[in-house]
């Protein structure tokens, strides 16, 4: 438990920091009758976290300044509808970080180590994603986004590390509402999310990790690989969903309605539904800022048929997701596999629409179809996540 080494939700110190924030914000609301503007109070608390607890405070501030300057300059000087250049400029830090991370350690020079240290900033990807959505959504807007609004949105401590990915307009509406949002209803909501988040992350995920996952003996058998596959999936779900719930709960306590990230994903019947239930905010982000623009671009070029364009856009989007996770083969293959699932499902829906009948299940009982679909989807996801885990290659 040290200063400058506290990533969100990784130590007791971070929870103490968040509780202090809530107490301070409530104090300002009731004692000082909200005389200090909520957005300034939030910026001060965020800055206190970065300055006192965050691993690389100056690196993070540098990144925020780069992203703010880049997005402001692009809005001012770049008037084209083509989004490739803005995407490249804004995602440059991710590209540098990913490229440097694959250079083998044997070739590391002092310069390379320094370069790696500069770009490896916790939360970098999510911050860049937020700024890309902010730029695309607001680039035609006449109003200039102030630095304080930009700072509050990008560096909001509970969601800094791994989301959920919020949108600027929604986030800023809550910030504008200020202390009025810090009411009993929100506190109750926050409490429920907190309890569930603690149960998921610190009890269930930890128990799975401690008593099952690390005790599996790798004898190379099929049974071992299957056991690892299902255990890892459950561990990942409870850890990540728990983390997201904790982030949402502290957002609620501060009057901010962070969108939900997980909603019973193992009951999804197809890939499309799965991405509405598993890491939903990333799924929505990829849909809005990658799938739709790629599909629109292919349509403008009148490239082949609509179904082919959709499938190409799906494959490219999920492959990109794989590259974002890392340039290692297992991440890329896992992303492509998720893309393949979506393409197969998309083609199945297309065929059903064209023939006006279910081409796979025929006249089977809908309840039975649902059970089989859930089973297939769960196992397909387990396999893709297993590839993602890097256990196979």
């Amino acid at each position: 438990m040290t200063l400058h080494d506290t990533l969100p939700f990784t130590s007791v110190l971070f929870f103490q920091y968040l509780l202090s924030c809530i107490a301070l914000a409530l104090g300002i609301k009731f004692v000082f009758k909200g005389k200090l503007s909520f957005k300034f109070a939030l910026a001060f608390l965020t800055l206190a976290y970065i300055g006192l607890l965050f691993t690389k405070p100056l690196h993070l501030v540098g990144l925020i300044l780069y992203l703010y300057t880049a997005s402001l300059s692009l809005r001012k000087f770049y008037k084209s509808d083509n989004l490739i250049l803005p995407m490249l400029v804004l995602s440059l830090p991710i590209f540098l970080m990913k490229t440097l991370s694959i250079i083998p350690s044997t070739t590391e020079s002092t310069l390379l180590i320094s370069a790696k240290d500069i770009v490896q900033i916790a939360g970098l990807s999510y911050m860049v994603f937020k700024v890309i959505s902010l730029y695309i959504d607001e680039r035609r807007s006449k109003s200039i986004i102030s630095f304080i609004d930009f700072f509050n949105y990008t560096a909001f401590a509970p969601t800094l590390l791994i989301g959920p990915l919020d949108r600027f307009k929604r986030f800023n509406t809550d910030v504008e509402n200020g202390y009025a949002n810090m009411n009993l209803k929100m506190i109750g909501k926050g409490w429920n999310n907190l309890i569930l988040g603690l149960l998921y992350k610190f009890i269930i995920a930890e128990a799975i990790r401690r008593y099952v996952l690390v005790n599996l003996v790798d004898d190379g058998s099929l049974l071992y690989h299957l056991s690892y596959m299902y255990t890892y999936l459950l561990y990942l779900f409870f850890d990540f969903a728990g983390y997201s719930l904790l982030a949402i709960s502290f957002g609620n306590f501060l009057g901010i309605n962070i969108p939900i990230n997980f909603d019973k994903p193992f009951l999804a019947v197809n890939p499309k539904e799965f991405w509405k239930k598993w890491h939903k905010t990333l799924g929505d982000w990829l849909n809005d800022y990658f799938f739709k623009p790629i599909f629109k671009f292919l349509t403008s070029k009148k490239y082949k048929t609509s179904i082919t364009r959709q499938n190409i856009a799906l494959m490219l989007t999920f492959t990109l997701m794989g590259f974002w996770n890392g340039f290692q083969l297992h991440y890329i293959v896992s992303g492509m596999l998720f893309g393949l699932y979506s393409v197969i499902h998309n083609y199945y829906v297309y065929k059903c629409k064209r023939t006006k009948k279910d081409v796979v299940f025929g006249n089977m009982n809908p309840k039975m179809v649902r059970i089989i679909s859930i089973f297939l989807m769960f196992n397909s996801v387990a396999f893709a996540i297993y590839i993602f885990s890097g256990k196979l290659f």
Binding site: Y126, L199, I203, E206, A207, V214, Y235, F240, G390
Partner: protein, 52 residues
């Protein structure tokens, strides 16, 4: 029915949270069950999700 379901659900959540906390963080159950066994250093699951 809705309220009953909610009460049962909340009771279960709090029960699991308290039992889990005691089991995982207060008592080290492994040392209670096997006092003579040496502590084995477990491999760390180092990648959970995207941090950078």
């Amino acid at each position: 029915m809705g309220t009953t379901k909610k009460i049962i659900q909340n009771t279960l959540i709090y029960f699991l949270l308290i039992i889990g906390y005691v089991y995982l963080y207060v008592i080290n159950i492994n040392t209670v069950l096997n006092p003579s066994q040496e502590e084995v250093v477990k491999s760390k699951i180092d990648f959970v999700y995207q941090q950078f």
